[in-house]
Structures are given as structure tokens and as C-alpha cells.
Point group: C2
Chain length 401, copies 2
């Protein structure tokens, strides 16, 4: 019912946002590497952040800004260098960058966030950053979504529209992913903008809940970055009544729209994991509770052996069931069932005969879906990952040099 | 002091053991795939077993036999097929195999263990197994250590000698490893024999303790097999007084010898991980307690990104510190220090200048040692793994077919 009210549409920004993305030459690559995202008016804002004990300076600063009053108007961002593990100098650099944007846009510093992604341990080239901030100007294309890419093959966006109180509302998100992806509370960098009006605390609550079943359920390589951050901004430019609680008429529609955008971005990140040729989706059923269903699904898409088998189109279900057994989730070990791209391979925890060649061929699709029934309850779980390929090794054996 | 009493020696069996390894053609490969290990007299025995919820039929059966009275005289073993996730048929097959060996050697069934390793989900070819058991005969070479290999490039053994009560005692172990290696309580298959006399319960206690700092501290790919098992047999043929407690005069020497054998096997498994070109050792210092030191060390050698960087000889310490931050161990996040093959790269959690080319060259060695100081206490931890290579992907994208 609600789902039908949410329309996925081609990339477009909500009312009242502009952005820019330019090439500063922060790293060695030839791509856009610096940009900003700005709301014309202060927006209510929410964020989730990496749980890595080494939280990068920009991530820390943005978290502090958002937590002050759940408001934000601009985020300046760069790729190539993460400004992480850079000590006092790194914190000073993040502050200086924030101050330069504050001056340029004539805003209160508390409304300006900073985001960085790239190599850990290197310092931001502040001279270039200064020049870059001077060059940024308002545009309505998608350059900012390209400026945050590192080893991403393509920009990741998701855009939905819905009606709230008779007005058209747009929710648009973008993200960068690729490597060091195993989010705990957020992914590398994700930004969602909307022109709906949403109370800041309530927006935080919705974001945190939805991140648990979207960004937190993807994995590329089991490594959690120091710079992970998802930020949502709601500037109210659609002139809708402010959402403040789950009892509001339009809560469910907006929340579904937000979940859709976060889920689409999460899947795009998994599909474009470093070196990936395929998206892997795992649907767990028969779990004792949702937490255990999610745990098992994420373990399966995270197993190197399962990921390598998917790359090789090898219907090697033994690796899937071994991964199930390595979790602490409740499992009826006599009655597990497994299907891969609709081919039943296991029933009652033992092999069922299937045509291995045909199954292998089906695994050649862009998306491999693994269905696992634990027969331990009625709850479900879902997670997304990618295959493990020669290119993953290649990219990561030579990322730094 | 004690260490000096333990001599590492070339491969030899303790008194009173024989073995055999033959080629039955259980799988498609051309190698030895079936064998047994036998003590001339009943030996006291101990074992540790996989914590995977899907414990394979042979692992279950051997555990039951050992737990009855901590005695064992023979173990029959095969590679190529794991007899795991094979239901009632698989359990019947393991029992039949045990019975056939029992009949051949005229032993009580409770003295016969069974071990299998290889593809999950396939059934043992019982006709071949019957023929194989008829063919086995007593030898003193190392064929059994080759019969258990799967994708292992070479057999893994370790052998030490020491004196106990004026008598020479030998402790000899062998193991198979390679893939699905992330032991929790044991590794794929490991067998240790000694001619010392050791009480069964006490042997179990020593094994369990030593496994925690050896086999349980290695990882190849983060996947724990359904067939993991380490078995120790002590047949007393060296005519030494039976060890029964930590207060016995020779306890410390024997325990150090046992730890040495288990540790050597564990390192050999890590170095010969699927596709590996290098052994990676991580030494953590400054941990709050030993458990946290071990946790951090194992997390670092288990990180795909660290493993790929080691393969590429990329001194990318950011991946090491990010992995530290992803653990729940206590860390002084302002004062972490990191060295790789003796090159200091991080002090007080920020980069120290180093010659990247020279550091990269040093990482070309067969062994890469990562030293991490958490500055949170006085405890240490140690773990072993290997690099992540094109060949790991190749082997595991085509293991089954």
C-alpha cells in the first residue's frame, strides 16, 4: 500500500539544494576530488558514524556539529585523502576547512560539516583545499556525487518521490563505497537530502533505525573504515507539515521512502565493491528473531569462500552451510534448506540432487541470490555483498603506491 | 631454561606407532588420500573439535570415542570428501568405517577414531573405503601425513625430543590445513603422538590450553570448517612415569614440547594457506590483558585489506590501525605504535617518516612481522596468517568443479 506511493525516479535534487564537484589534484588520479553540498536554508539533520575506535577528524567534527542541534546547511567533502590518524594537525585542518566554508557562505560554523575519504594517515594539502573552496560555485548537476568516489566504478545515487499533505516531496541520496566496507552504524560516506520538513531528533531516530537494515547489512571485505558517515538533511522547502513522530499521517510514507533510498544506495555499494563482478543478496528465513536472521545473512555474504565460489560460478553450498554453522544463531541443524538463484541445493541439511552445470550457468547472472531457511523461527534477515575476484586482490595490493 | 631441553629434530615417530597412506581415488586428484595412524598399545588421548554447529559425522564420532575414557589406539583418515552435512547416511558410513578398522586390528571400537577432510556434502565411497582398509599395512614413513592433504602444497610436521626421568621422549605432530582455516578450538586436522605417559584427563587439559595460543591464533580466510579436530595420543612406550598434574617434575618440559609442536604446525598451516606466498606474524604488546592482545593480533592477520597489502608489499599501515580500531580491545588511541619488518611506521598514532621503497622491499621476505603496541597495558598476543593473493581466488573459484 505505502510502497505504491513511493516512486523511484531519475536523479534529481529536492528543492533548495545545490552542489559542486571539481578536480583539485589531491591524489594522483584524474577525477573530481573536491566538492560541497549546500541547502539554501538551514536543514534539520541527522547522522550515523563509524564505530571504529580511530574516528577520523572530519567524521568527529561533523558528528559534533550535528549533535549540537541537529541542524546543518553545508557539507564540504574530498576524496583521495581520509584525514584519519593525523593527530592534532588533522583536527586543525578539518576545523580550518570548516571555517573557510563558513566564511565563504556566511554561515554559522555549527551549520557546516566536513567529510573526507581515501588514504589513512596522510595530511590534507591545505593550500589546495583553500584554492578549492574559493572555486566552488552553485550547480544543480551531480558533480558532488563523483567528487567523493575513490575506487568506485560509478557514482551511486537513489531518488524517490512521494506526496505528503498534497505536496510533492523528493528524497535523494548518494554514496561512495568500494573498499573497507563493513559498516557498523554507517558506510564510508552517504548523504541524503530531502525537501520534506522533519524534526531533527525524529530524523535521527528514523535514520538510525533504517541504517540497521540497509547500510549495516552490507559488506565488501569485512573491514570498517575510520571515516564512515551517513548524513541526512531535511530542509522543509517542499512546504510540508513537520514530521515529529510515528503517529503523523505521512510518517510511514516518508520512512518507507527514506528506507528505499538508503537500501538502494547500500545495494549499489555492495554491487560496486572493489573488484566485484556480481551483487550477492542473501535472504534468510526461519530465524528465531530478526537480529539472528541479519547476523546469518551478513555472515554468508561476508565469507571469502562463498564470495570466491560466487565469482567462479561454483554451486558449492557446503561453504554456505559451514558459514551458517559458524554463527551463534539458533539453527535447526537437521532441517536447513538452501537455494541459489532459485535452484534448491539443500533440504533437511543434506544435498538434494540438482543439475550442477545448469546451476553454475544461473550463477553467471549479475545478481546471485542465496536463500537460506534456518527452520528455527519465523523471522527473516537480508544482507548484500559481492564476489571475491582477482581484481579485488589487484586493487588492494597496489592501492597505496 | 626449559626451552633448552626441547630439541627440534628431523621427522621421526615416537616409539610404538605405525602408519600407512595409500591412493584410493576418493577424489579426482592423483595424490594419497587414505591412511591410518596406529599405536601398538592403547594410548591415552585428548582432542579438541570444531565449534561449527554443523559438526561432521567423523568429528562427532571421534569426539565421542575420546570422551568415553580418553583412550585411543587408531585413527583412520581420508581426504577429498569431508563426510559433512551427510545426515544419517554419513553417520552410518563413519560407524561402518570404524567397525572395519576395529575388525582388521582386533580392537575395541572405543579405541578407533575416524577423520575426514575435503568437500562438504558428498558421501564417502564405501566400496573404496572397504578395499582401502583391507590394503592398509604397518609402515614407519610419513605417508599418512600426505594422505590427509587437500590443497596443501606440502605435508606439515613438527617433531621435538626431550628427556623425562632420564628417558628420551619424542613428540611428533602432523596437520593438514590450507583453506577454511579460522579455527575455534582446533584446526582442520592435526594429530600429535608421543611415547611419554600422560594421564588422559590431564592430557586433555594441556591440549586445550595450548591450542588457545597456537591453532586458535591462526587464520587463512576467516572460515571455520565443519571437520576441525586436533587429537593427541600418548602411548607411554618411552617408559616414563605418568604425568598427572602440573606439579610433576617433568610437566613443564613436556608441556613446552607439546606447545612447540602445536605452534610449529599452526605456523606451517598459516604459511601454506591457500594461495599464500608469505607467512604473516602479528605481535601485539601493550594490551590490557592476554585475551585482548590475542584478539587484536588475530584481527590484523585476518583483515583482507592487510593481507592484500602484504601480498603487494605495500607499507599501508592505515589498514593495520583501522583493524585495531575495529576491535573492542582497549587501545590508547593517541599512542599506538606500529612496525612492519622492523621499520617503524607509526608512533603516537600518527605517521613517522620512513623510506617507503625500502620498507616495501623488506616486505618481500617470506615472513612479514607486524608489531603493534596498544599502550593500554602490559599483556601481549600473537597470531599468524598469510597474504591474500590471486591464487587464493583462483583455488577457491574452482575448488569444487
Amino acid at each position: 500500500m505505502i510502497k505504491n506511493q513511493i516512486k523511484k525516479v531519475a536523479f534529481t535534487w529536492p528543492n533548495g539544494y545545490y552542489n559542486d564537484g571539481i578536480k583539485l589534484g589531491i591524489g594522483v588520479s584524474d577525477k573530481l576530488d573536491f566538492g560541497y553540498l549546500v541547502s539554501e536554508v538551514p536543514a534539520n539533520a541527522a547522522g550515523t558514524y563509524t564505530t571504529n575506535q580511530f574516528q577520523a577528524a572530519p567524521t568527529k567534527l561533523t558528528k559534533t556539529m550535528i549533535n549540537q542541534d541537529h541542524q546543518l546547511q553545508a557539507v564540504v567533502m574530498n576524496s583521495a585523502i581520509a584525514n584519519s590518524c593525523t593527530g592534532a594537525q588533522g583536527e586543525a585542518d578539518a576545523h580550518e576547512e570548516q571555517q573557510l566554508v563558513t566564511d565563504k557562505l556566511q554561515l554559522d560554523p555549527s551549520l557546516v560539516g566536513v567529510a573526507s575519504t581515501g588514504l589513512i594517515g596522510a595530511f590534507l594539502p591545505m593550500d589546495k583545499i583553500k584554492q578549492g573552496i574559493a572555486q566552488l560555485s552553485p550547480h544543480h548537476g551531480d558533480n558532488v556525487t563523483r567528487a567523493v568516489m575513490t575506487t568506485d566504478k560509478q557514482p551511486k545515487h537513489a531518488c524517490v518521490q512521494l506526496e505528503m499533505a498534497g505536496k510533492k516531496v523528493t528524497i535523494t541520496g548518494f554514496a561512495k563505497g568500494s573498499g573497507m566496507i563493513h559498516p557498523k552504524m554507517a558506510t564510508m560516506l552517504g548523504f541524503v537530502t530531502t525537501d520534506a520538513a522533519v524534526d531533527g531528533d525524529f530524523l535521527q531516530q528514523m535514520l538510525s533505525q533504517n541504517v540497521d537494515t540497509t547500510f549495516n547489512q552490507i559488506t565488501v571485505d569485512g573491514d570498517t573504515s575510520t571515516n564512515d558517515m551517513v548524513v541526512v538533511m531535511a530542509n522543509g522547502k517542499a512546504d510540508t507539515p513537520e514530521l515529529t513522530s510515528v503517529d503523523d499521517a505521512d510518517y510511514e510514507a516518508f520512512n518507507t521512502g527514506l528506507h528505499t533510498v538508503l537500501g538502494e544506495l547500500a545495494k549499489q555499494i555492495a554491487a560496486d565493491g572493489e573488484g566485484a563482478t556480481k551483487l550477492v543478496e542473501c535472504n534468510v528465513s526461519g530465524a528465531l528473531n530478526e537480529m539472528e536472521g541479519q547476523e546469518v545473512a551478513k555472515a554468508i555474504v561476508g565469507s571469502n569462500l562463498v564470495k570466491a565460489a560466487v565469482f567462479g560460478q561454483d554451486p558449492n553450498w557446503g561453504r554456505i552451510i559451514a558459514t551458517v554453522g559458524n554463527t551463534t544463531a539458533h539453527v535447526d541443524t537437521e532441517h536447513v534448506a538452501i537455494m541459489v538463484n532459485d535452484v534448491p541445493m539443500v533440504a533437511d541439511s543434506v544435498a538434494v540432487p540438482f543439475d550442477e552445470q545448469a546451476a553454475s550457468q544461473k550463477m553467471g547472472a549479475d545478481k546471485v541470490v542465496i536463500d537460506v531457511d534456518l527452520h528455527a523461527g519465523d523471522a527473516t534477515g537480508q544482507a548484500w555483498g559481492c564476489d571475491l575476484t582477482y581484481n579485488y586482490v589487484k586493487i588492494n595490493a597496489s592501492y597505496h603506491t
